[in-house]
Amino acid sequence: MRDIYLDNNATTKVDPSVVDVMLPYFTEQFGNPSSIHRFADGVAKGIKKARGQIQELLGCEHDSEIIFTSCGTESDSTAILSAIKAQPNKKEIITTMVEHPAVLNLCEYLEKEGYTIHRLPVDKAGRLNLEAYKAMLSDKVAIVSVMWANNETGTLFPVVDMAEMANAAGVMFHTDAVQAVGKIPMNLKDTKIDMLSLSGHKLHAPKGIGVLYLKRGTRYRPLLRGGHQERGRRAGTENTASIVGLGKACELALHYMEHENTHVKAMRDRLERGIVEQIPHCFITGDLNNRLPNTSDIAFEYIEGESILMLLNKAGIAASSGSACTSGSLEPSHVMRAMGIPYTAAHGTIRFSFSRYNTMTDVDHVLKVMPDIVAALRNLSPYWDGDRPVADPEQAFAPTYS
């Protein structure tokens, strides 16, 4: 049995045709694109082509709106820091409670520096309240940063509408679209989104390459100053091979967009149906009708996620978990807590994330092993008795001596 990779929201396999287009840039096309000799020509052309391919996928107006960075995190940091540097009198930032740490930890840091951070809460299904959002918008806000798709649940936020609202209030809008790009169609030129982050390794390009989309006319301050690369907006000699690879990956993502939203989605849906039918006391988290097509996050009650992952791993299946233990912290994932998922379930969440490389056979294999894994761990759990949870688990297991 081959290993089954269902952790594509963590990272993806580089597509072989992406590798193919990259290889020459390590050898014969090794020139520095800024140089004035023939070693540079092909490289500069390769980068130009990649910019066009990315422009196509994002649906943006100009290819000069694409700034290459080193990763999604750098794009997020650049966007937010640029907005506050360019508008020094605006001391507020709006974001959500469920952002990726790339945004959340930066905001926490800025809070210490004296910024006011508004973190929009979510409901049980992980949805935002747009009325509350509207009330927060004011001329004191430097930037709104809201993710397009959540990395844990796949839940989509209405960023196109939210960008309109921000724009109407004269506020800059950034979206962390690291999980969304390549999985759902977008057409940035028809939106009021000012900045958008993406990361290559989530869409079958290599790790260590990202993009910040910067709508023409948006006020901007670079994070890295130095050479004139990326028109001085991001200094540092270009990661040429990865840029060319990312371009190809974006071309492929566009090609497979329909496949992603039909075939890949069908695998995800079949997995969910099978699990919920076979296994008692589990439920799917997030906004079930408004999600990425490839992501499923399932909470298995009364057992802990890391142990599930270890047993899955032994069965040749790779997934991930929002449990505290997998991260070494004492708290389960901030996304689960923001949605108010009870602790009895939050520690046992497993995220399965698909890609076009998965097959229905993969799904069948997971469905075959999952019930036994859950049953084995529930057998060990003090919160489980026979075929059901102990009556009132919090009560039944109340450590008298602790």
């Binding site: 802990e304 233990c325 004492l330 060990l380 759990s381 003090p382 450590p399 001596y401 602790s402």
Partner: protein, 299 residues
Amino acid sequence: MWDYSEKVQEHFFNPKNAGAVKDANATGEVGSISCGDALRLTLKVNPETEVIEESGFQTFGCGSAIASSSVLTEIIKGMTLDEALKVTNQDIAAHLDGLPPEKMHCSVMGREALQAAIANYRGEEWSDDHEEGALVCKCFAIDAVMIEEMVWANKLRTVEDVTNFTKAGGGCAACHEDIEAILEKVLAEKGEKFDPDAASIEVVSEKKEKKPLTNLQRIKRIEEVLDSLRPQLMADGGDVELVEVIGNTAYVNMTGACNGCQMSAMTIAGIQQRLMEVLGEFIKVVPASEMSKLVTIGA
């Protein structure tokens, strides 16, 4: 994924003594589902001999929590209650060939469940004296509660102070920001303000005396330093005893959990570092067991 030892994996994939013991006469329950870790330990104790005849566990938790529970039930089977009380969390970790620092709390939970079960058998009260905070320093497995206590108790003012007293922050430096936040918080509670440029308290106290120490002074100072480190060692279930000082070499006995545990070499190095800083001279710390060797070689 964690770098779990073969032993941890063995006990996780094939747990021993899973489930509750029938006719158990001792039960210990620790942890809670909100923390993501909970353990119920049941024992069958022979009332005549106080020997643990059977032990079983039920655990909600991660791989190392399940492995720690499983290995614990194996360790204590056949022990008398008094023997079992001496089992430390370090013993549990050692039987698993070590645990990652983030996971040491799983072994602590095992020890606590055992103590709770024995207290339950004897009709005694057992209270959890071990408050655990978020792990701050991953290099040396120091949590926030420990750092806060040390900052309070020893009037620490800088990250360097915290490193000197707890080792936290002495490795990769990733936690310096977190340590500063703790200093800021505790100092604010004391009505003071954190000053990143403050001189470390060591520097202040060191300036006073620069005369070489007499041997008696040296021994006294060494005892003082060991006393100041003791709470930290005891929190890990261990202790240290000064056996002899010959010239600049201090011979110590590591007792309890520190004895022979995988951290002991690191602990000794930490003690030595601290002695050198406080005494302002070179001090070598050597396990007392090395003393006999030295004497025989010398003779």
